[in-house]
């Protein structure tokens, strides 16, 4: 489903994120593991086409991202990738259901209210659709963020530290929800986490090597 080959991405502070070879199949669920600051977010952003690595091949669902212009990459991302960011950020000016409608519109899809309603029901926040984000608890916001990430049925679902600040029960629930939604959407799931509680819950693991100090 996706393929990373010989990735090197260097930051100004002379450290570099490297991934030699990583292939994941369709529908697989992966843990991207590594200590804080090891570049997990950077790899997720490379997979989402938000960062173009200085070296290496990024191929997602058959598309070599280096061949796309920036605008094309933006549109491709909207249709192909669902991202649950570390800060469960929703657009505060919009109600819960409008946040999902916005995701559909930005991906160039017609707004599908039935899909939005079913999805919010599926993640257990059906009664919150008319609320504004600041009226939600942390757990509710995460559910809405997951729903928003899968609303366009992406082929790749990325989650950045989804269990941070959650207790054991809620961490397990969040992972379960991500896996269930990935299965429902038919998406490959990649969870970036340094949380040891996550490891037993995902079948595939990719450990990031420590950051390389660039010469």
């Amino acid at each position: 489903m996706f393929e990373l080959e010989g990735i090197v991405h260097r930051y100004a502070n002379t450290t570099a994120v490297t991934v030699d070879t990583w292939r994941a199949g369709a529908g697989e669920a992966w843990l991207l593991e590594g200590p804080s600051g090891s570049g997990k977010s950077t790899v997720l952003h490379i997979l989402a086409g938000l960062i173009v690595p200085q070296r290496g091949l990024v191929r997602v669902a058959g598309v070599d991202l280096a061949t796309l212009t920036e605008g094309a990459r933006d549109r491709w991302r909207g249709r192909t990738v669902g991202l649950v960011p570390q800060r469960l950020h929703l657009v505060h000016a919009l109600r819960v259901h409008e946040n999902l409608a916005l995701a559909q519109a930005l991906a160039g899809q017609p707004v599908d209210d039935a899909r939005i309603t079913a999805l919010l029901e599926g993640v257990g926040v059906a009664e919150l659709t008319r609320r504004y984000p600041r009226q939600l608890s942390q757990g509710q916001a995460q559910r809405v963020a997951i729903a928003r990430a899968v609303v366009n049925r992406p082929v790749l679902l990325l989650a950045d530290e989804p269990t941070a600040n959650l207790d054991d029960a809620h961490a397990a629930q969040a992972l379960e929800l991500l896996r269930a939604q990935a299965v429902e959407a038919g998406a490959t799931l990649v969870v970036a986490s340094h949380d040891h509680r996550v490891r037993p819950l995902l079948p595939h693991v990719r450990a990031l090597p420590p950051l390389v100090r660039a010469a």
């Binding site: 950020h89 657009v91 916005l102």
Partner: protein, 404 residues
């Protein structure tokens, strides 16, 4: 859910700054537009009242005063000129028309003007009812006069001394209304017209000839009779200039050009208008600055929002577009409200001040120069939004998400 709706959702979330930007811009646009509408109306009226009058000839004094008294009927005339002057001017081949005017009395503030039917023709006056004057103390009312006094054909009134309301009445000389004019939109609407002989009769307290014929009175006292001033039209502008110089040099009279005096008056008036307009432009600039600050603040507050929009598939252009649409929407709403306020104010002035009633038509008129106001207001709005929008388009999405 497109970027326009997203932009409006953001505006709704900060009502105070939205309202402030709109209010400042609206007031600025309103004041500029109001000055444009009122000066345009003033200039139009001044020109219409002076149309067809190349020169005003009267007694020695200020030319401006002569024009104000003789053309616009707002000042007292400097004095009188002999009736012989009219005859002399009429004999000049360069002059195509001479209309004598005798001023001195009023009817409840409306001036009673002794003249000839040519004055009615000059302003394109048409009788709404009755007929023009034929014998002394016949009077024809302008439309505003008829409406304000309630007088109609057959009614009678006594003129009062002076040109403003409140002077002593000539109780023994009763005017009789023989006609009422239809509205012309000119100064004619506010005048009471009568024959020159009426003014002489009222002021000289001489008994009128028994048969009341105008010619009889005219012939009897031609030599010592006077009129206040004369309105002249010439064959060519050059003739006007040479004759004006000749009159000023060789006679006891003054020749004043309404076009010239009006232009001078508008220059003085224009300085005040410019000051008001400058103040309005400062308001518009303040509004643009407020808009800039509001959008720059939004840029900071929404960095993460914008990063999320990008992860959801928005291009750089769309993210910038949200801020641009916010700027354009505020500018558009402010502009529309400002224009409505200005036109509404003109309508209000026309409604509450009876003497400004003709302004009502101006309230519904769209001047081409108002497009310039629209362009200016929209332009400053868009300009204020450009830099924040450009910054939004340069956002580093991955770095912003990583800040979390």
């Amino acid at each position: 859910m497109n970027i326009a709706r997203l932009a409006l959702a953001y505006l709704r979330r900060r009502p105070l700054s939205t309202a402030l930007v709109v209010a400042l811009l609206a007031i600025g646009v309103a004041v500029v537009t109001l000055t444009l509408l009122l000066t345009h109306e003033l200039e139009t009226r001044l020109q219409r009242d002076a149309a067809g009058i190349d020169l005003v000839v009267g007694a020695k004094g200020s030319p401006l005063q002569l024009v104000l008294a003789g053309v616009y009927h707002v000042d007292v005339p400097p004095g009188n000129i002999p009736l012989a002057a009219i005859t002399q001017l009429r004999a000049d081949p360069r002059v195509t028309r001479v209309i004598p005017l005798s001023l001195g009395d009023n009817l409840r503030g409306f001036r009673i003007v002794g003249t000839e039917p040519a004055l009615v023709e000059l302003y394109g006056g048409v009788l709404a009812q009755g007929a023009l004057w034929t014998v002394p103390l016949d009077a024809v009312l302008g439309s505003d006069v008829a409406r304000a006094t309630g007088l109609a054909v057959g009614g009678t009134f006594a003129g009062a001394h002076g040109l403003a309301a409140g002077g002593g009445e000539h109780g023994d000389a009763q005017y009789r209304v023989t006609g009422v004019l239809a509205p012309t939109g000119s100064v004619l609407d506010r005048l009471v017209l009568t024959g020159l002989e009426s003014v002489w009769a009222v002021h000289e307290h001489r008994p009128l000839p028994a048969d009341g014929k105008a010619e009889a009175a005219h012939d009897a006292h031609d030599d010592d009779r006077e009129v206040t001033l004369a309105l002249l039209k010439f064959r060519s502008p050059l003739a006007a200039a040479t004759l004006a110089r000749a009159i000023d040099k060789d006679t006891e009279w003054v020749a004043a050009s309404p076009a010239f005096e009006t232009a001078r008056l508008l220059t003085v008036f224009g300085a005040g208008v410019d000051l008001v307009r400058a103040f309005a432009l400062v308001l518009m600039a303040a509004s643009a600055l407020m808009l800039f600050v509001a959008l720059a603040q939004a840029l900071e507050d929404r960095r993460y929002d914008m990063a999320i929009l990008r992860t959801l598939g928005a291009t750089r252009g769309k993210v910038a577009g949200v801020l641009l649409v916010e700027g354009i929407a505020l500018a558009a709403v402010g502009t529309v409200i400002g224009l409505l306020l200005a036109h509404g104010a003109v309508l209000g002035i026309a409604h509450w001040r009876p003497d400004a009633a003709p302004l009502a038509a101006a309230a519904w008129r769209w001047l081409p120069v108002e497009w310039a106001v629209v362009a200016l207001a929209m332009g400053t709005g868009i300009l204020s939004a450009l830099w924040p929008a450009w910054r939004a388009s340069r956002l580093d999405v991955a770095a912003t998400l990583a800040e979390g």
